[in-house]
Symmetry: C2
Subunit: 256 residues, 2 copies
C-alpha cells in the first residue's frame, strides 16, 4: 500500500486569501510523483485550537504529515508550541537547534534575543531540521511509526529542507514505483460528450488517474485538457499504461 | 460574533499538485472582506470517503460551507452524490435543475444524454443555483441554520455564482462591518529584530490582524511586508485602527 500524507499549511495569510497556497501544491506534486497518496491539503489560521485540532486529525489519518509556516521569530509563529500541544508534550529548548540558530546570527554579528531563541524551542522528543537557506530550524517528530515534519513557510527554505532532509527520511518508506503523467488537448468537444469515452478509457486502465480539465466553454468554445497519470514498478510499464489510454482517446475523439 | 466558514476544494488535480488552489484563496478573500472568519481551506481528492468526511466535519464546525468542483458531466464529478451521502439524504433528479441544463444544451442543438442529466441530480431538499457562465447548476442546502453551497471548479463559473447567488443569500448573516487592509514594506531589518515592535503594535490594537511576510533573506537581504487588517462598524474607524498601527511601526522601525 502506498503511504498516505496530509499537508497542513499554517498561516492566517492563507485563510484570509492574501496569498495562494503554492506550498501545498508544490509538496503535493513532490509526494505524488514519489508514490505517496496525498489525502488532504489543509490551510488553517495561526490559531491554537485550529492547528492542534488538524494536526491531531492528520496524525490519526495518515502516515506522513507535513506542515508549513509558523516557525519564525514573530509572535504569530507558534507552530512548535501547537505541535507540542497536539502531541501532549512540553516545548523545550533544544541544544542542537539553539546551536543552529546561534551560529547563523553570530555569523551576521547579531546577538541571541528572546525572539531568536524561540526558534530553537521544539516539542520534547523532536529533532531539529537544518535550515540551509534561512534561520529557523524545521521540526521532525516520529510518533507511532508516523512522521511529522514542520517546515518553514518561505518557499525557498521549505523546498530546500524537503529535498535535503524529508526525502532522505522518507526514502525507505516510498514504494518502488515509477509515476508517469501525460496529457491530450481536446478542442471542439463538450466535456459532456467526452464523458462516455473517459468512462471507457477508465475501464481500459482501472488504476490510471484520468481527468478532464475544462479550460474553455462547454457550449460554444469547448477546450479540454485530459490528463492521465499511472504508476508501475518500472517507468516503461507506467508509460505503456498512459500510452494505451491516450491512444484510445486519440482514436475515438471526434471534434464536432 | 462573525459567522465562520470552511472552504472545501474538491478534485484530485489539487491533491496531486497539478493545479494550485486559486479558488480557495479567491473565496477566502471575498468572505474575509465581508467579515466572515474562514477557519479552513481544505483540498480533498475525488474520493467518497474523504469528501463525505470533510463535508460532515465542516457542517459540524462552521456556519457556512462552500465547496468547489465536481459538478460537471464526467465520471469523477461526484460532488452532488457525496454531499447527499454526507447529509444522509437521497440524490434526486431536480425538475428545475433539469430545466436549466436542458435549456442550455437544447439552445446549442445538443440532446440530453445520461451524463448531462446527471448534472441535474441534487441531494433531496437542495436548491439548484443557476450557472450563468457554464452548464452545471450549483447546489444550495440549508441545514440546521447552516448554509452549504456547492460551486463549480471552473473559476469564472464559480466566481459568477458566488457573486450572483451566494452573496445574496449570505447578505442578512454578514456583520455590519467594514474591513480595511494596508501594508508597510520594511527593508533592511531582520524579522527577528522587528518581532518586539510587532508585539507592541499588537498591544496598540488587540483586534487588528498584524502579520509580517518575509520576502527576502533574514540575514543578508532582509525585506519584509507587514500587513495590517482591521474591521469596525464604519470604514473610517477601521482605517483609523490600521493607520495607528502603521504609524507606530513607521516611527519605530530603524533600518540596520
Amino acid at each position: 500500500m502506498a503511504p498516505t500524507a496530509w499537508i497542513i499549511n499554517i498561516g492566517t495569510e492563507l485563510t484570509i486569501g492574501r496569498i495562494v497556497n503554492s506550498n501545498g501544491a508544490w509538496l503535493a506534486r513532490e509526494l505524488t510523483l514519489r508514490g505517496v497518496r496525498v489525502r488532504r491539503i489543509v490551510c488553517v489560521p495561526d490559531d491554537e485550537r485550529e492547528v492542534v485540532d488538524v494536526v491531531r486529525q492528520a496524525l490519526g489519518s495518515s502516515d506522513i504529515v507535513i506542515t508549513t509556516g509558523g516557525l519564525g521569530p514573530t509572535p504569530d509563529d507558534r507552530t512548535a508550541e501547537f505541535i507540542a500541544k497536539a502531541l501532549g508534550v512540553e516545548l523545550v529548548l533544544h541544544p542542537e537547534a539553539l546551536r543552529m540558530v546561534e551560529e547563523k546570527y553570530r555569523a551576521a554579528g547579531l546577538e541571541l534575543t528572546e525572539d531568536r531563541v524561540k526558534m530553537a524551542k521544539l516539542p520534547r522528543g523532536a529533532r531539529p531540521i537544518p535550515n540551509e537557506v534561512g534561520t529557523a530550524p524545521g521540526i521532525h517528530v516520529e510518533v507511532g511509526g508516523k512522521h511529522l515534519f514542520a517546515l518553514p513557510g518561505v518557499p525557498r527554505e521549505m523546498e530546500a529542507m524537503f529535498r535535503s532532509y524529508v526525502l532522505r527520511v522518507l526514502e525507505p518508506l516510498l514504494p518502488r514505483l515509477c509515476v508517469v503523467e501525460d496529457g491530450l488537448p481536446v478542442v471542439g468537444v463538450p466535456e459532456s460528450t467526452l464523458a462516455p469515452l473517459l468512462k471507457e478509457a477508465q475501464r481500459l486502465c482501472t488504476d490510471c488517474y484520468i481527468k478532464s480539465h475544462p479550460m474553455g466553454e462547454e457550449l460554444g468554445r469547448p477546450y479540454i485538457e485530459v490528463k492521465v497519470m499511472a504508476s508501475a514498478p518500472t517507468c516503461d510499464e507506467a508509460r505503456a499504461k498512459v500510452g494505451r489510454v491516450l491512444e484510445y482517446l486519440r482514436s475515438r475523439v471526434r471534434p464536432g
